[in-house]
Structures are given as structure tokens and as C-alpha cells.
């Protein structure tokens, strides 16, 4: 007996919201990427808890794949960010709004 499933869900939900806030509100490309990582991590928590709830392994398998996704995401994302930084000398997404409506 650990805790009710809902408590884990709540923890993950708040974490997820924090990730969303970080990705939406922080005016910095690196922090936006970090926000997405936090979101992925919170999804992982839900999966593991759900796997425990149903006593199945599928949820845990999902988490393993999340790790792979996160790794690919960071490598591609950071490569893009460095490329952009070298061109523009800024990490502020506001500076990138050459393209408007």
C-alpha cells in the first residue's frame, strides 16, 4: 500500500502544468526546451503509476520510450538552438519574429 492513484495523478498534473508554464512563459529557447522535458517527465510518472495500478508492464515500457524520445528531442533541439544562436546571437524567441501573419 503506497498512496491512492489519484495522488500520483495530482503530482504529475502539477508538474505538467509547471512544464507548460515554463515552455510558454519563459522567453528563452533553452528554458522552453526544458519545459518540454518537464512535461515528458510528468507523463512518465503517470505511466509508471498506472502500470502499478493495473499491475501491467506496458506503462513501464512507455517510460523507456519516453527516455529515447527525450534524448532525440534534446539532441535535435539543442543543435537547432545553437545554429540559431550563432546566426542571430540571441536566445530570445521574441527576436525571431521576422515571420508574422
Amino acid at each position: 500500500m503506497i498512496v491512492p492513484y489519484s495522488h500520483v495523478l495530482f503530482l504529475a498534473g502539477v508538474l505538467f502544468a509547471m512544464g507548460v508554464v515554463c515552455a510558454v512563459a519563459r522567453r528563452n529557447l533553452i528554458m522552453m526546451l526544458i519545459g518540454v522535458e518537464i512535461m515528458l517527465n510528468s507523463a512518465g510518472l503517470v505511466f509508471v503509476a498506472a502500470a502499478l495500478r493495473w499491475q501491467q508492464l506496458e506503462g513501464q515500457v512507455f517510460v523507456l520510450f519516453i527516455f529515447a524520445i527525450a534524448a532525440a528531442e534534446v539532441s535535435v533541439g539543442l543543435a537547432l538552438i545553437i545554429y540559431a544562436y550563432r546566426r542571430t546571437g540571441s536566445l530570445d524567441p521574441e527576436k525571431y519574429n521576422i515571420l508574422k501573419w
Binding site: 503506497i2 500520483v8 498534473g13
Partner: protein
């Protein structure tokens, strides 16, 4: 309340506080350090939820590889903390509105859902059982993920060299 529940609440507190600190720091390196603490907490939770393999991998991949990569980039680009503006009200408002809606929904989920009140029982996944399950049933996703990593590799390599290539092309164009 069992001892496991107590551990859970302590870890949950640590994770939430660390993540909260991480997303509000102006200095990116501090954010990274707080985030590492948060991922450590998640890894402990995985262990508590009977997934030691995932706990170890969480630390190896998230805390040990991904965050190092972030740190590395931040150090390499020499991001000056004073150049980073604090997010102003215009950005915080929609974000916090979104967050509030989300929390409302989360409370709804937690209170309205009878199934979510089930207690989680202790269980432990042995790495061997996990591996066998993974490679038998999820053979195809593994192939897909290998393609994904290949593509990420190709892309990172291309993008890493892209700036030098652009400069060269511009030089040639000027000639």
C-alpha cells in the same frame, strides 16, 4: 499512513519545490541544478513504484546525459544571466490562466473519478522480466525508435555543421 506513503509525500514535495525553483530561476545553471534534483526525486519515485530499471535509467539518461548536455550548451554559449529578462506580465498572464484551468481540471479528475481512488500496491519488476516483455511484445516500436535515433543523429550532425557551411556559402556568394 504507511512508511511508503510518507516517502512518497516527501519525494513529491521535493520534486515540486525543485521544479518550481527550476522554472523561476533567472540563472540557467541554477535551473539545471534544481531540475537535476527534481529528476532525482522522480527516479526515487520510480524505485518506489517498483521500477528499479527505470529509476536507474532516469538518472543515467535524464540527469546524467540530457541535463549535462544542457549544462554544456549553456556553458559553451556563455549565456549571460543578466541578459535574460524576467518574464513580464504579458507572458505570465496567459500561462498562469492556462495553469489554473489545468489545475481545475486536475482536481475534477481526482475528485470525480471513482477508479483513481484505488490504492497502489507494492510490486517489483525484475529487469529480466521487463526486458523479455519489451523485446517480445514491443519489437516494432524498438525498430522505430532506432530509426528515430538514427535520424536525430543525422540531423544533429547536419545542423552542427550547418553554420560553418552557411558562412562558406556566403563567402562564395560574395566572391
Amino acid at each position: 499512513m504507511t512508511i511508503y506513503a510518507a516517502i512518497f509525500y516527501v519525494l513529491a514535495g521535493v520534486i515540486l519545490v525543485a521544479t518550481g525553483m527550476a522554472i523561476t530561476r533567472r540563472n540557467l545553471v541554477h535551473s539545471i541544478v534544481y531540475l537535476i534534483i527534481s529528476f532525482f526525486g522522480s527516479a526515487m519515485l520510480y524505485y518506489l513504484f517498483g521500477a528499479p530499471l527505470l529509476a536507474a535509467l532516469e538518472i543515467i539518461i535524464y540527469a546524467g546525459a540530457i541535463m549535462v548536455l544542457f549544462l554544456f550548451i549553456i556553458m559553451m554559449l556563455r549565456v549571460d544571466p543578466s541578459s535574460l529578462r524576467r518574464p513580464d506580465l504579458k507572458q505570465w498572464l496567459p500561462a498562469s490562466a492556462l495553469g489554473l484551468i489545468y489545475v481545475a481540471i486536475a482536481i475534477l479528475v481526482v475528485t470525480q473519478d471513482p477508479g483513481s481512488r484505488t490504492m497502489l500496491e507494492m510490486a517489483l519488476t525484475k529487469p529480466r522480466v521487463f526486458g523479455e516483455f519489451l523485446f517480445q511484445k514491443y519489437w516494432l516500436p524498438i525498430e522505430i525508435v532506432s530509426f528515430l535515433l538514427l535520424i536525430a543523429l543525422v540531423g544533429a550532425l547536419y545542423l552542427g555543421k550547418a553554420f560553418a557551411r552557411d558562412a562558406r556559402e556566403r563567402e562564395e556568394a560574395e566572391k
